[in-house]
């Protein structure tokens, strides 16, 4: 009996390395061809797909920005009319926030977190597949509506009553609101997966104080997503109800409140900035450590700063509402809390400076982007302190000063680190290096183009140029600077073009990277590039924060996982003691069907409330297929 069971259960103890890899590959592989692509639940394939899609949306959102700059280069230009312009700036904002910035950060985590914590797949792999499909559907919905000239035109913030039933034309605002639902569902799904992956699937020995900083940043981000996103979902659903079935949430004539919208929106909208920024903090810490050739200075303060930022992020949404006429005491509280967030940001900056100070930096492209990040993000942070001041804000709110400010925060604070991160992890993801020459060119052009484009906007704002205007009159003193800004935007665009060319070229023919081309310390570099479908041949055992630096030759491993089915180790939350072997779902087509059923229901429900009723039937069927238990003979015995 025991003998039979033993022979029926092949584990990684029984095979030599080559045989083990062959068997694991058989168990974990993604099917071939289109069917394989549609059914895969491999976090690396989904992560790459997610990142690629998000970058496509970045490029498209960038083209919209260029169109706006073309229109604004001269006063009273007639290149784009007001209707199209309003769609374009709404699309630019919504696209960059909901289809690029948040998804790309989560996508990086989908790819990297399981590798960095030493596990074989993300928790809930089918949910992960579903989240990508639903994100793609939301993106296609928004861009299709733009192609049909019916894109939302109420701003990415969609303030009522402009977006309400009385003033919002046609189905444009509904499309906006429903696109939010798509991206929320996908963001929430990923957030839940990340929290469970990090807390329950870490490699043995990776206690809480040994978790890589990028992983920490994604955990805090995931909690922000889980807490902030329901507020916007509530807001967008209320808006759809107001528009579709005549509820009166936001209609003051019937006892509704216009400001309710702004509170709900910004209760989400402010943490959103940190949902984008905190992952970048993790990337910066990782890259600085690797290229300074030393552990990052102040691991504990950095983790504390992440958590403090996460908590404070929920206490300052009102600073978007300083000119709506709130009680003075409330404004004072939100000024203080908005200013206070500069303190954890300071802690992070000083720790990074200390790391550079005490290290021996190697100047490769990734760290150039990180240095560019420090230069620009500090400006964005300081202008953030400025707009946190109520009196200051009453002059610059809704002007180009704010446009400059948040681009410094979002591009300086998140996109620069992200581009650095792409240069950094590209070899792992593709097995090939990106070009150092093109990398320097793209960094130089993007850095110069960015600052030349956005710094003058501070001045335009102080000179009284409001945001969201499609044109201005020649007698306003803004023409020269707008022309300058538009020309600079071309430099910025050229920088991105070089980046994209480098990515495409290197993916095909870049030099072969090897396992650990940068000499980094974290677990994702402890495997071939690109990683095999099963990630780790044997699950590593972690004894400190920088396992590849302290055990450079061979990592200790944990064994006992089966090779004939998808098994991974579930470990305890604090100490990461192994608790059980758990099986991970196989490939399945059902997440795709479920996403399609959800998509049809969500789009249909813009037009009829009955969609929610009838749409639940196909969703129910697909979910049943998804969760249908597939028992193996051993399970029964």
């Amino acid at each position: 009996m025991t003998k039979d069971t033993k022979s029926a259960v092949p584990t990684d103890l029984m095979f030599d390395d080559d045989e083990l890899e062959r068997r694991l590959a058989q168990t974990w592989m993604t099917g071939a061809g289109v069917w394989g692509a549609l059914t895969t639940v491999d976090h690396k394939i989904i992560g790459r797909r997610y990142i690629t899609t998000a970058f496509v949306f970045l490029a498209m959102g960038g083209l919209l920005a260029l169109a706006m700059r073309l229109q604004l280069a001269q006063p009273e230009a007639r290149f784009i009319g007001p209707d199209r312009y309003n769609q374009i700036f709404t699309m630019h904002g919504a696209n960059m926030m909901f289809l690029f910035a948040v998804p790309v950060m989560e996508a990086m985590a989908v790819y990297l977190v399981p590798l960095m914590v030493g596990t074989r797949n993300i928790a809930f792999p089918r949910l992960n597949a579903f989240s990508y499909w639903i994100f793609l559907a939301g993106g296609l919905l928004l861009w299709t509506s733009f192609a049909l000239d019916t894109a939302p035109d109420v701003g990415w913030f969609a303030y009522v009553p402009l977006s309400g039933p009385q003033y919002g034309v046609g189905k444009r605002a509904d499309l906006w609101a429903q696109m939010i639902t798509f991206t929320e569902v996908s963001a929430l799904a990923v957030a839940v997966e990340l929290v469970v992956t990090v807390f329950k699937q870490r490699a043995p020995g990776m206690s809480l104080d040994r978790i890589p900083l990028f992983v920490w940043s994604m955990v805090v981000t995931a909690f922000l997503v889980i807490m902030a996103m329901p507020a916007i979902m509530l807001a967008s659903s209320s808006l759809i109800l107001d528009r579709l079935v005549e509820t009166q949430f936001f209609n003051p004539a019937e006892g509704g409140d216009v400001l309710l919208w702004q509170h709900l929106f910004w209760f989400f909208g402010h943490p959103e900035v940190y949902i984008i920024f905190l992952p970048a903090v993790g990337m910066v810490s990782t890259i600085i450590a690797t290229f300074s050739r030393r552990p990052v200075f102040g691991y504990l303060p950095l983790v504390m700063a992440l958590i403090a930022t996460g908590i404070l992020a929920f206490g300052l949404w009102v600073h978007h509402m300083f000119v709506v006429g709130l009680p003075r005491l409330g404004e004072s509280f939100f000024t203080a809390s908005s200013m206070a967030i500069a303190i954890p940001a300071g802690v992070q900056i000083f720790c990074w400076l200390a790391t550079l100070w005490g290290g021996q930096p190697v100047f490769k492209t990734p760290i150039l982007f990180v240095l560019g990040f420090i230069v620009t993000f500090v400006i964005g942070g300081l202008t953030g302190v400025m707009v946190a001041s109520v009196p200051f804000d009453t002059q610059v709110h809704d002007t180009y000063f704010v446009v400059a400010h948040f681009h410094y925060v979002l591009v300086g604070g998140a996109v620069f680190p992200l581009l650095g991160a792409i240069y950094y992890w590209f070899p792992k993801m593709t097995g090939r290096m990106m070009s150092e020459t093109l990398g320097r060119w793209s960094f130089g052009l993007i850095f110069a183009g960015f600052n030349l484009t956005f710094f003058p906007m501070h001045i335009l704002g102080l000179e009284g140029m409001p945001r969201r205007i499609y044109t201005y009159q020649p007698e306003m003193p803004w023409a020269g600077m707008n022309m300058f800004v538009s020309l600079s935007a071309a430099i910025l665009a050229l920088g991105f073009l070089v980046f994209f060319i480098d990515v495409i070229r290197s993916a095909r023919s870049g030099p072969i990277a090897g396992d650990n081309p940068w000499g980094a310390s974290t677990l994702e570099w402890a495997m071939p590039s690109p990683p095999p479908c099963f990630n780790f041949r044997r699950i590593p055992v972690v004894g400190d924060r920088d396992p590849l630096w302290t055990q450079p030759d061979e990592l200790a491993v944990a064994t006992g996982l089966r090779t004939d089915r998808r098994e991974l180790i579930v470990s305890s939350v604090v100490e990461a003691q192994p608790e059980a072997n758990e099986s991970s779902p196989r490939n399945s087509i059902w997440p795709l069907w479920a996403a399609l059923a959800t998509t049809v229901t969500l789009i249909w429900s813009i037009f009829s409330p009955w969609a929610v009723v009838w749409g639940s039937i196909p969703i129910g069927i697909t979910l049943t297929g998804w969760f249908w238990p597939k028992q193996t003979p051993e399970d029964e015995s």
Binding site: G81, Q166, D257, V323, G346, Q360, P361, T394, A448, G464
Partner: protein
């Protein structure tokens, strides 16, 4: 990075050199705006200094680490810890200082309680209605897109919106404040010198948000009183034959359904009150200078000049157009 420093310094120089735009927060001509300008300059200087310090440390860190070769010792790590802690403490102090400065500045900016004059501002898509109410209804009047105020007097502005959210903003006189449906907000402005101050809607309010400008004309008290007296009066019947024909046309065509001209039968309220339209500096919320030609152009084709606005195109012959614009011009 050096390029960044250069750009920053260059642009800061432009900033400090001052921008005397028609609509600039740095071109302050009212008590509140002056106070805000001082605060803005102070905060910008402090923040620029902080940025410069961080950059110096960054550059030193990069230069230093190029030359040093020894691994960091636990002693140097401890020293660094102390330095980081000191930097964080300095951050806390600076942040606290700026917060207190901001609170202090806010205290001086409240809406005037015992204001000399109260003006009701109603934001509409896409123009400004200014209502000068008086206890005696016969003395009440209203105007559009152009507000006159006396200098050195606190003006209480009551803000309301009948459609979407707008924001009232005349940067040379004060910060902005939103006009929110279902709420009433107030702000006070005060001009220290006579002058024409441009303002603009700052909250995105739909298709023609870009063309929702206003002018505040601050003048000495006697001039202001003369202006108010003339605005109180009803429209003077035109004497010129062309304008007389224009008046008849105005009453016959749909114009009167939307516009009021006091002293005539025209009493529509959805469009601007035109009783004294000829006396205004601009038409269509700052879009065009108020000349007879631009009046005619506007009446002939408002939808091409300002697409999406609520004034329909009314088909008129060229004679009719001349007559109407003559009448509008005569309404002084």
């Amino acid at each position: 990075m050096k390029a960044g420093v250069a750009v920053f310094l260059l642009l800061s120089a432009i900033l400090i050199a001052g921008c005397n735009g028609a609509q600039s927060a740095l071109n302050a001509e009212g008590a509140a705006a002056v106070q805000l300008k001082h605060l803005i300059i102070a905060i910008v200087i402090v923040c620029s200094a902080v940025w410069a310090l961080v950059m110096i440390v960054l550059i030193l860190a990069l230069l230093r680490s190029r030359t040093q070769r020894e691994r960091p010792s636990s002693e140097s790590e401890r020293r660094m810890g102390k330095l980081v802690a000191a930097a964080v403490a300095a951050t806390v102090l600076i942040i606290a200082g700026l917060t207190i400065a901001s609170f202090y500045a806010t205290r001086g900016l409240g809406a005037a309680q015992d204001a000399g004059i109260t003006i009701k501002v109603r934001g509409q898509q896409w123009w400004w209605q200014f209502i000068y109410d008086d206890a005696d209804p016969a003395k009440s009047f209203q105007t559009a897109n152009e507000m006159h105020i006396p200098v050195d007097v606190d003006i209480r502005i009551e803000l309301e919106s009948i459609d979407v959210i707008h924001s009232f903003w005349v940067p040379s006189l004060a910060g902005k404040r939103d006009l929110i449906p279902g709420r009433q907000n107030t702000i006070s402005i005060r001009a220290d010198r006579p002058g024409v101050y441009r303002g603009q809607c700052a909250e995105f309010c739909g298709l023609q948000h870009s063309h929702m400008a206003l002018f505040v004309i601050a003048e000495n008290m006697p001039d202001y009183q003369r202006w108010a007296a003339s605005q109180r009066g009803i429209s003077v019947a035109p004497s010129d034959p062309e304008a007389i024909a224009g008046k008849a046309l105005f009453m016959r065509k749909p114009c009167a359904a939307c516009h009021t001209i006091r002293g005539t039968d025209a009493s529509g309220t959805t469009g601007p009150d035109l009783t004294h339209v000829g006396s205004r500096k601009t038409i269509a919320a700052g879009l065009l200078d108020n000349t007879r030609g631009s009046l005619a152009a506007w009446i002939a084709d408002p939808q091409t000049l300002k697409p999406g606005n609520n004034m329909p195109m009314v088909l008129l012959s060229s004679d009719e157009l001349r007559q109407l614009s003559a009448y509008m011009e005569s309404l002084r």
